[in-house]
């Protein structure tokens, strides 16, 4: 039986002409993982929210949603709350109470379960997720990944039939994201739970999905088994977000089922690879002039806390894009903090040679105070010339009269960047700028960085996003335990690494030397 039967579902937001969902018909199978993907604004979240009455947006809806054969609207709130679990995007915003155990108990409390039943449900859940250590902790002490795990557990504690997750890993770093998806997959396998998931990070999510639905501007353009469905959407915007394996397969006109995992793709490449070496990357002329420099810096947050940076030295050359990579807690953000002057090292020197350094916050909304995008920009520099320059550079012309909170995530990021640029910085610090962006947004953001570089800005980038750094950085460095262990141009950096490298490099290792970008592998296969 289908968990959800969606029939001719259309939905239009108030005061909009274009429907957000256009005549969608699909049947979501029970006990399977269904992955819904689509570019930003394609209606993924809107669709998910129609699957639970209390979350459905206001507007004009047509069509039917059946939950296990029964019209969803005829099912009571309490029953829906119990049977349909929902996990939202932001790990921090959806946590309601102060303690982990209280958060787990929130659902059972709301549904009025008695003590004995609550105790069992909470204990069971905590044991399954291995939360014993965290059980009595304050949620403020948890990492993003742990928080999202708590959110999953507190939805699962009600023993739902269906779990719906709206981009659950978009705010997590890659390792926490993989952990989260692993847990989700285990749950689905162990319990035969129906899972409906939207994601933009498809590299990990796609191989674990049983069904794939692709949305494009509110329409369902493909639905079915992932390895067949991916090839049907070759020409849509979402294809840029697909795993490297799929993109390579499509680009060289592979036939049959697409490989979804690295091992499948390697088998395919082994058959097709003709050239075995991708030429050396032409070394980029770096300007010898130094923009900023950290010399033997030591830093810790409190007197008795452990050192975060241990003798870190780093040189930023003028006009380069420098990417600093590294795991959680390796000191990446701290390094950016030192460069921005927000933090001071207790030993060592920070030199910025009188250049203006400005950082873009991780959450762009932290900079917004006005009612329109134009006013936001005018807040810093009302001069016509620089205003029009920035709007053109950042492609903000179309949204100047909109409210900053109503524009898309990518546009918000560009607006925040615009505000920072209007203060005329020489060095730009970006902390995880691609968090939550899909493939297309990332590409456009990369192009934007090159334009800024062409204007002579120096860009310092802190990121977990290996693919993005490989694509657009001039120089990559790996930070480990407060020290830089490796620093070189991206091609050399990533082709030399074994684990910590791009998907394309992992796919082609041993068969095509020196290829680190998806496009490069494609090029070599086509020759």
């Amino acid at each position: 039986m289908a968990a959800f039967e969606i029939r001719d579902l259309s939905f239009t937001y108030p005061n909009e002409n274009k429907p957000a969902l256009d005549n969608i018909t699909m049947s979501i199978p029970e006990g399977r993982i269904t992955l819904i993907c689509g570019a930003s604004g394609s209606g993924k979240s809107t669709l998910l929210r129609r699957l639970k009455t209390c979350l459905a947006d206001h507007g004009k809806a047509e069509g039917d949603v059946l939950f296990f054969g029964k019209a969803l609207d005829d099912i009571g709130q309490a029953e829906q709350a119990r049977r349909i679990g929902f996990v939202f995007q932001h790990p921090d915003d959806q946590i309601v109470t102060d303690k982990v155990f209280h958060e787990l108990a929130f659902g059972p409390e709301s549904l009025g379960w008695d003590q004995a039943r609550m105790r069992l449900a909470v204990a069971e859940m905590a044991s399954y997720f291995g939360l014993d250590e965290l059980f009595e902790k304050n949620v403020a002490e948890l990492s993003g990944g742990q928080k999202q795990l708590i959110n999953l557990a507190s939805a699962a504690v009600l023993r739902p039939d269906v779990l719906i997750l709206d981009e659950p890993t978009s705010q997590l770093d890659p390792i926490a994201a993989a952990d989260f998806l692993g847990t989700l997959r285990k749950m689905s396998e162990d319990l035969g739970l129906t899972v409906i998931l939207t994601e933009h990070r498809l590299e990990e999510a796609l191989p674990m999905a049983d069904m794939l639905a692709v949305l494009d501007e509110g329409r369902l353009i493909a639905f079915g088994e992932p390895k067949k469905t991916v090839m049907q959407v070759k020409n849509s915007a979402v294809f840029e977000s697909m795993p490297a394996a799929v993109q390579i397969f499509a680009a060289v006109d592979g036939e049959g089922d697409a490989p979804l995992t690295v091992s499948d793709a390697r088998a395919f490449i082994a058959l097709r690879a003709r050239t075995s070496v991708k030429g050396e990357q032409p070394s980029v002329e770096t300007c010898p002039e130094t923009a900023a420099e950290l010399k033997n810096c030591w830093f810790r947050y409190e007197k008795n806390a452990p050192d975060i940076l241990r003798g870190l030295s780093l040189t930023l050359h003028k006009g380069e894009i420098f990417a600093l990579l590294g795991g959680n807690g390796s000191g990446k953000s701290t390094t950016a903090g030192l460069l921005s002057g927000r933090l001071k090292p207790y030993r060592g020197k920070v030199k910025t040679n009188g250049l203006r350094v400005a950082a873009l916050p991780q959450d762009p909304r932290e900079l917004f105070v006005k009612d329109t995008v134009l006013d936001e920009l005018k807040e810093l520099n009302p001069e016509e010339a620089s205003l029009s320059h920035v709007t053109e550079l950042l492609e903000l012309e179309g949204v100047l009269s909109r409210h900053p909170f109503d524009i898309s995530g990518g546009e918000q990021q560009r607006l925040a960047l615009g505000k920072v640029l209007l203060t005329a910085p020489d060095v730009l610090l970006l902390d995880e700028p691609t968090k939550g962006m899909d493939g297309e947004f990332k590409r456009r953001f990369g192009e934007l960085l090159s334009r800024l570089k062409a204007e002579g800005k120096t860009i310092f980038l802190v990121s977990h996003d290996i693919e993005f750094c490989a694509q657009c950085a001039d120089c990559c460095a790996l930070l480990f335990r407060g020290e830089i262990v490796c620093r070189s141009a991206p091609r050399k950096f990533f082709s030399g690494n074994f684990f910590y490298t791009t998907a394309a490099a992992r796919l082609s290792r041993g068969m095509i030397e020196n290829a680190v970008l998806t496009g490069e592998v494609i090029e070599c296969l086509k020759q």
Binding site: K52, C54, L55, G76, Q77, A78, A81, R82, F86, F88, H90, D92, D93, Q94, I95, V96, T97, D98, K99, F101, H102, A105, F106, G107, P108, E109, S110, L111, G112, W113, D114, Q115, M118, R119, V122, E136, V139, A140, N151, S154, A155, L158, S340, R342, A358, A359, L360, P361, D363, R365, E366, L367, F368, V369, L380, F405, K419, V420, L422, T423
Partner: protein, 296 residues
């Protein structure tokens, strides 16, 4: 700290603190006060370590002296003048005595509250209030989450805006005030945004769909019942002794303090039992451990 008493059910711990603090404040008998002070000091040592108690003494002892002197300087009631101030007012023995015992009482209460703060964590208070009303308990728990979250967000926004020259510590006075207002305004917008998600997350987990209950980590056991009965018994005996006039203290106009007959001794013993209950619990537990270990 491995204190058996603080592992009791919140209701039992709460009853103990109410009893001990009320009796300490109500009956200003020197012996009772000193018993209470000693017990409180001992319990602070168990909970936070002797070192912490040593630090507490640094402000507690001057406070004790200051209070006694202050009372003697400003309160001139009493029949036994010790000497006269330059304005002709008498400094009396009674006022000095009362001031001393009043400050002993205050010190004891302060120390008891210090214990209270360690033992009655927010979870325990929530569990107690949750019994009265699940909504109050939820409200408190949400407040405990959102207030610090606000603080962190304000600091983060301020740091972000400092990067574009709009931080709350940049520019002249007026500029700073303006910038701070903007930081607050962003925080408010953010709070509204994030509370939408929180509200959805609550609705999604059935908030308002049924009558709420309250989850509790604690179980009420025989031990807790015994503790509460013991407390009630000790309070009863002490109160009876006071009401019957067996334990009596008067400071003005002259100091009269009851002696140590049979009845007062009974009351004092009961009060001591109450005050030293935590130590008795720990002692019992230590004995059991020793016996268990020697059995191995």
């Amino acid at each position: 700290m491995n204190d058996a008493f603080s592992q009791l059910h919140p209701a039992a711990s709460f009853a103990f603190f109410v009893a001990v603090i009320t009796l300490t404040m109500l009956y200003m008998h020197p012996v009772l006060l000193i018993i209470s002070l000693a017990a409180a000091a001992g319990y602070v040592c168990i909970l936070k370590g002797a070192r912490h108690f040593g630090k507490t003494l640094i402000y507690l002892v001057p406070f004790l002296i200051f209070m006694s002197v202050l009372n003697a300087l400003f309160n001139h009631a009493g029949v036994t003048p010790l000497f006269y101030l330059s304005n002709g007012n008498a400094v009396t023995k009674e006022a000095l005595t009362f001031g001393f015992y009043a400050s002993v009482m205050l010190s004891a209460v302060i120390l008891w509250f210090e214990c209270f703060n360690v033992v009655m964590t927010s979870d325990k208070l929530l569990c107690l209030f949750g019994r009265l009303s699940p909504s109050v308990s939820l409200l408190l728990s949400m407040a405990l989450r959102f207030v610090p979250k606000f603080g962190r967000k304000i600091r983060s926004i301020d740091a972000a805006r400092a990067q574009i020259g709009q931080g709350s510590a940049q520019g002249g006075f007026i500029r700073r005030v303006k910038n701070s207002m903007k930081v607050l305004s962003v925080t408010l917008t953010w709070a509204l945004e994030s509370s939408l998600t929180a509200a959805n997350s609550m609705k999604s987990r059935g908030y308002g769909a049924a009558r709420r209950t309250s989850f509790s980590l604690y179980r009420f056991t025989v031990r807790d019942a015994v503790t509460m009965v013991l407390c009630a018994f000790a309070v009863g005996v002490t109160a009876a002794c006071v009401v019957s006039g067996g334990i009596y203290a008067r400071y003005y106009p002259s100091v009269i303090i009851s002696g140590f007959g049979g009845i007062p001794a009974l009351g004092m013993a009961a009060f001591a039992l109450l005050c030293f209950l935590p130590q008795l619990f720990d002692a019992k537990e230590a004995l059991v451990w020793r016996r268990l270990r020697s059995a191995i």
